[in-house]
Every structure is written in C-alpha cells, then in structure tokens.
C-alpha cells in the first residue's frame, strides 16, 4: 500500500477553504444552540421546539449568503426537547430554486418511510464520540432524498449533549466547484473521501460515487491532519490516475 503524502497545491487550498467555511457556519449554529440549551436548563426545564427556533434567523441568513449550502440547522437528540421526542430545526434550499423551506420528514420511528436520524453516521459519530464528522457523498433517504455530503458537529456543553449542528452540500455542487481544481491537476484526477469514495472526478472511467482502492493511482492528502484532528471522515485525497 502506498502511503499518501501531504499536498500543498491549489487543490489543498480549495478543499481546506471549503471545509473551514462550512464548519464556521456550523460553529455559529452550535453556539446558538448551546445558548438555547443552557437558558432552558437555567430555568430548570428542558428546551422546547419554540426555544430552538431562536436559531432560525441565523440559519436563514446562512442559507441566503452561502453559495453551496443545500440545507443547514440543528438536530435535537431524541428526548432532549420537552415537546417533541425527535426534532429538526432544519431549513433547505430546493434544487429547483425558490425560497428556503423547512425540511418535512416523517419522525415516527415505526413507519417504513421514517427518518431514522439517530443511526445516521452524521448524528451517531458526534453523539458517541464528541467528534466532528464529514460524511458522504451518500443518499439521504427519507430525509432530503438527495445525493449529498453532510458536515456535522456535536452541540455539547456543561448542560450535556443536546444534538448536532450540521450543513448539507449537494454532491453535484461540490463537483461543480471542484472540477476547475481537478482539471488544473491534469487529466484523470479524482477527489476521494476517507473511505475511498469518489467525490468528484474529471474522468468518465471513475465517476462520483464509485469506490477506488488504496493502490489506485498516485494518492495525496488534501486536508492537513493537524487542522482536523477532531474530525472523523477526513482526510480527503487527490488521486491522479497514471496512464
């Protein structure tokens, strides 16, 4: 197996900027949600969906200003809210345009079409490990039903674990944003996630969603380990297929 060497070119800068910008938005929501949790606890009660709605103006502002956000918000851990067993304060932009809308999902765990978010890696990893996580691309079935990447961080404070703050980016938008960088690297360049799935590519031979083996082509780390030591699902790699 070939060890991946770090890479400091333009591709690394592009990816690092994407991750930083996305997690900056998430951190803002995380701080607001921690505030909601603490305030309610200070009054000796559990927060409600109405309390959590205090983050909404920030969610909507982020959706309006960021180029690539498909959706963002905070997802409450089951049992943490007083008035709902499960809840998402989550807003999204439709791929076909129009204003932001709240995500409507079936939250009754008994139904086959219900959104089982507690077992989704973007919720489960922060919940179990306290780490941030980058997941995807994956099919978010019963949720947005789209092919997306999710970036998530735990909402944890002295009041305990409250849930997850997260952001979605559509696979198709990441691909569009990354193609110029891949083309600059040369033909048959791939952006690959930590588990070997192709996020974007400029070759029809190995397209988004396919899995490449560790010995596939020349492989370099695009994300700096020291910046993302608390984040599961990284590094991402640049893979050049040598003819």
């Amino acid at each position: 197996m070939q060890e991946a060497s770090p890479y400091a070119g333009e591709a690394a800068t592009t990816v690092e900027a994407l991750l930083r910008e996305t997690f900056a938005g998430i951190d803002a929501l995380r701080e607001l949600a921690v505030g909601v949790h603490r305030d309610a606890r200070a009054r000796g009660r559990a927060p409600t969906t109405a309390d959590l709605a205090a983050i909404r103006p920030t969610v909507l502002r982020q959706l309006a200003s960021a180029d690539m956000l498909a959706g963002t918000g905070v997802i409450a851990a089951p049992g943490t809210l007083a008035d709902r067993p499960r809840w998402l304060e989550w807003w999204r932009r439709s791929p076909s345009g129009g204003g932001p809308r709240p995500l409507a999902v079936d939250l009754d765990p008994g139904n086959i079409g219900s959104y089982e978010y507690p077992v989704a890696p973007w919720f489960d990893v922060p919940c179990r490990t306290g780490r941030r996580v980058v997941v995807g691309p994956y099919v978010d079935y019963a949720g947005t039903d789209e092919y997306i990447l999710t970036f998530a961080a735990p909402v944890t404070s002295d009041a305990g674990f409250f849930g997850v703050a997260a952001a979605d980016i559509r696979a198709t938008d990441i691909e569009r944003a990354m193609l110029p960088m891949l083309n600059a690297e040369g033909p048959a360049s791939l952006l690959v996630n930590a588990s070997g799935r192709v996020i974007a590519s400029n070759t029809p031979a190995t397209i988004v969603g396919s899995i490449v083996r560790r010995d596939h082509g020349e492989r370099r780390e695009l994300t700096h380990r020291e910046n993302w030591a608390d984040c599961t699902g990284l590094p991402w790699f640049l893979v050049r297929t040598t003819a």
Binding site: I112, P121, Y141, A142, G209, S210
Partner: protein, 251 residues
C-alpha cells in the same frame, strides 16, 4: 354468501393435491397460508386427517407432523373426544382483514406491473451496490438481516425487509433508485407480510437476503442481480397465487 360457501370454495383451492413433494413444511405452509388469507375461518374445523391427507395427496404421517407444527405455532388446536378434531385458531384484526381485501382487489395485471417495476429497480440496485457499497453499508445491511431474523412482530419484519432493499439502493449511490424503492416498498410491502400468509416465509427470506448480501460483499454484481431477481420474482408469483386463491374463494 354464507360461511359454508366460503368454506367449500376455499377447500377446493386450499386442499388440492400438492405437487411439490408433500414435505411436512410444505403441507404446514399450505394450511397456514389458507388461514392467513382467511380462506379457512377462525374456529372452523379442518377435515379429518384421513380426508385431508387424501385431498393433499400426502401420507397421514406427513399430515400429522404438519398439524403438530401448526399446533406449535398456535394456529390449530386439537380437541379430543366426541365432536373433537382439529380446529383453526386465527383471531383476525381489522388490519389483516384490510390487507386481504386489498390483495383480493389488486388484479393480476396490476401485481405484475408492480412486480416488473420492483424487478427492474431492486435488481439493478443490487448490481450497482456490488460495485459501490462501502464496508459500513455492508455492515448495516447485515444488521438489517439480523433484525429481520429476530423480529417478533409483523410490523418489525416488514420494516427490516423493506429497509434492506432501500438500503441496497442507497448503497448503489442512486438517489433515484432509492426514491423508487421507497415508493415500491410502500406500495407492496404490507402485502408481502400478511400474517401467516407471508409471500416468502421469514427464514427463507433471511437466507435469500444473506445470499444477496454475500454477492454484494464479494463485489459480484451479476450474481447479486440474478439472486435479487429470483427473490423478487418468487415473492410476486406467490402474491399472484394468493390473489387468485382469494378471488376463487369469494364468488
């Protein structure tokens, strides 16, 4: 229409000679399905062992073992003495009654249409998943098979079964196939799991799911597709068979 009419018509359908070898399990399943589909009613007395064995063209030994299995499953009780015999015990709730009505009223053509669509989506998803599934997804699929195997209620079985196929479509990385699989499972899922009239019995289904998953884990797309096709075709042909039995038993 009287109960006696239903009963006579049902017997004509249910107690026809078995062509598939007359194994104990096969006999038990035939009777169990008839109970599940409501072709034999709660409290109704089964024909004598001799008569039943003759009608099904199996030995009385085989029949007795089959009845013993049904007793174990709580579907039949045997009373001794005068007026004794084997009686059906099948308390039916409204949801089962509704499913029987839906299956009776869904025509063969419609079942075939749903089946063809299911075949195209489900088998293609399995082929693509063999190329694209991550280790995490394969582990999740194995977990869903374990859930199906351990499920106690019909609802849990149906859910674990449906999610297995939906998760395969997600592992195929196709949002479109996943959406279609969700719709199809919503449409047909509950008909596949009519209590005691399951299109494919749980243990058999678990074995088939394991075989499909092994092909996906091996990265063998052609095998995953073929096994899934067989799995879907079997389920749909059983549903069509049940539908026809239901229509024949109610004039």
């Amino acid at each position: 229409m009287t109960d006696a009419d239903v009963s006579r018509a049902a017997r004509h359908v249910v107690f026809a000679p078995l062509r598939d070898g007359g194994r104990v399990e096969v006999v038990a399943r035939r009777i169990s399905e008839a109970i599940g589909l409501g072709l034999i009613a709660d409290g109704e007395q089964l024909p004598s062992e001799l008569e039943l064995a003759g009608a099904l063209a199996v030995s009385t030994v085989t029949l007795r073992e089959a009845l013993a299995l049904l007793r174990q499953r709580g579907l039949v009780e045997t009373r001794r003495g005068r007026g004794g015999g084997s009686f059906v015990r099948a308390p039916v709730d409204a949801s089962v009654e509704r499913l029987r009505t839906v299956l009776r009223e869904t025509g063969v053509h419609e079942l075939r249409e749903i089946g063809d669509h299911l075949l195209a989506v489900t088998a293609t998803a399995a082929r693509l998943a063999a190329e694209r599934a991550s280790d995490d997804q394969i582990a999740r699929l194995a977990e869903l098979i374990d859930q199906l195997e351990a499920a106690e209620t019909v609802g849990e079985r149906r859910r674990a079964d449906g999610l297995f196929h939906i998760e395969i479509a997600a592992a195929a990385q196709s949002a479109r196939l996943t959406r279609q699989e969700i719709d199809l499972q919503g449409e047909i899922g509950e008909l596949l799991w009519i209590p005691f009239g399951e299109a494919i019995e749980r243990d058999e289904r678990v074995a088939q799911h394991r075989a499909v998953l092994a092909a996906i884990a091996d990265g063998d797309g052609d095998r995953a597709r073929r096994l899934t096709e067989e799995h879907v075709e079997l389920a749909i042909s059983r549903l069509i068979e049940f539908h026809l039995q239901l229509t024949q038993s109610s004039p």
